[in-house]
Symmetry: C2
Subunit: 282 residues, 2 copies
């Protein structure tokens, strides 16, 4: 199955185009702040696995943020491997948020590290950074034939990004969008190559949707980061599909500092509410 | 000490602006190809440590390529931690080639993971990807006050990169160069913020040197990747400083498949030859 179709099927089956970001901020985990790096990695792993269990019936996907695990060194990376395996087993689509970008054998090594089933993580898809040009995306794109997917950074909504991504009259973001559209061209419906498009871009979003008609968009910034339902209407197609919306903090951190297992029901409740906000028509 | 000055001092002390890339390709290590992931990580670690020992007296810096370690999972990342510690102890400047780029607390986590002395690696500097705008560089730039450095991707020389990095009339590469120049402005000599500039860019290089007068340039692509001495003359200032030239394959892989410890002398010999090629005036 093509990754685009796999994601569509999963979104339809849960009735929601929702993705929970797994961002284990050490100072916002349940219980006390762990002391050393080994304890921190164990806490991050236990927390993310608990979140997976709490959300796996209601959301379509999870997006582990690699940086938070890498900050804990090799123990953190080992924890990430466990979390990804657990989430896959729970039936979730797993998108590792790594934003990698390199060329040649290095890009090949990153693709292997993140999405090959014979590699250490074997996620369904990864986020990638296109700065180094089309060659940097090719090793990932080749793996679409094995059912893997990617989400290429196109246009983000943090304040300083626009002037760099869209240098007048166009810019790198436009080149990347053209490349994505071309790669997905032969697909009947959504292709395997998606785009990261910020939530709070206003009218600009319509143009990106038109430029990449067959791309799933990964839309960060929902909830605690300021975007609401009305901000993500244009990311989707008229049939409601095409925008996989990410929420992390507002789902995860009602758990902050809570003792015992109490936090799990809070996360489950927040995830349900989030999933309903981005529900799709059956 | 400012990272720019630290690098200058090290280059002067070895008399060469040379950096050896540590790219442990599994199929090009000495001896037989390791069987499992644990064995592979052990081989990669032993090889890179042997290279460090062989080159530490003659070159200025090493640049471990994170992707090759990550492809070996958490065991590979543990190996990278050992390699970085060993290279620092040997007196080398260590630049982790990670090309990370993200924003907010995620960028902060990456900076901690790569260059904080309290983090798992504690390298002197890291390569970073500017796609997400100036905010993505800020957490790294802040650490320059603790003597850390960064090399921001500006302009690479792989065939497809130009059309994306330099969209007419300018492009993201020009914005990034302006940002780097501004950050280093108050420095007497080289500042802590360097730029990755490809080796085989021809006349274009002069304009990048002019645009970033106080930036050390990290120049990949020397040796096996096709660039020679004549290609990197314009990257340096008239006094010969300012271009830290990277060679990986042509230094490392005379070792491929060799039995015993024989490979070490071959690597040492190649490193000496490379260091002489990019020697600087005393």
């Amino acid at each position: 199955l093509d990754f685009g179709d796999l994601l569509t099927a999963r979104v339809r089956s849960v009735g929601s185009a929702s993705c929970v970001g797994l961002d284990p901020h050490l100072d916002r985990l349940p219980g006390e702040r762990p002391a050393g790096r080994v304890e921190a990695a164990a806490s991050a792993q236990a927390f993310c696995m608990g979140v997976v269990d709490a959300v796996s019936d209601v959301v379509a996907a999870v997006k582990p943020q690699v940086a938070f695990f890498e900050a804990l060194g090799s123990e953190g990376v080992a924890a990430l491997e466990e979390v990804v395996a657990h989430a896959k087993k729970a039936g979730l689509i797993v998108i590792v948020d790594a934003k990698r970008g390199d060329i040649g054998s290095t890009a090949e090594a990153y693709a292997h590290a993140l999405i090959d089933d014979t590699g250490p993580l074997g996620a369904h898809a990864a986020t990638v950074n296109p700065y180094l040009g089309p060659e940097s995306l090719q090793p990932f794109a080749l793996r679409c034939q094995q059912g893997k997917g990617l989400f290429v950074l196109v246009r983000t909504s943090n304040p300083g990004s626009g002037g760099w991504q869209c240098t007048p009259p166009s810019g790198i973001a436009h080149r990347v969008a053209d490349w994505i559209a071309q790669q997905n061209e032969s697909c009947d419906d959504f292709g395997p190559i998606g785009a990261v498009i910020g939530a709070t871009l206003g009218d600009e979003v319509k143009a990106w949707r038109t430029a990449m008609p067959r791309a799933w968009m990964l839309v960060p910034g929902f909830g605690a980061q300021g975007a609401g339902r009305e901000d993500i209407l244009d990311h989707a197609r008229p049939d409601g599909l095409g925008a996989l919306v990410v929420s992390a903090r507002s789902v995860l951190f009602p758990a902050a500092g809570r003792e015992g297992n109490d936090w799990r029901s809070h996360v489950a409740q927040r995830a349900r509410r989030f999933a309903q906000t981005v529900a799709i028509e059956p």
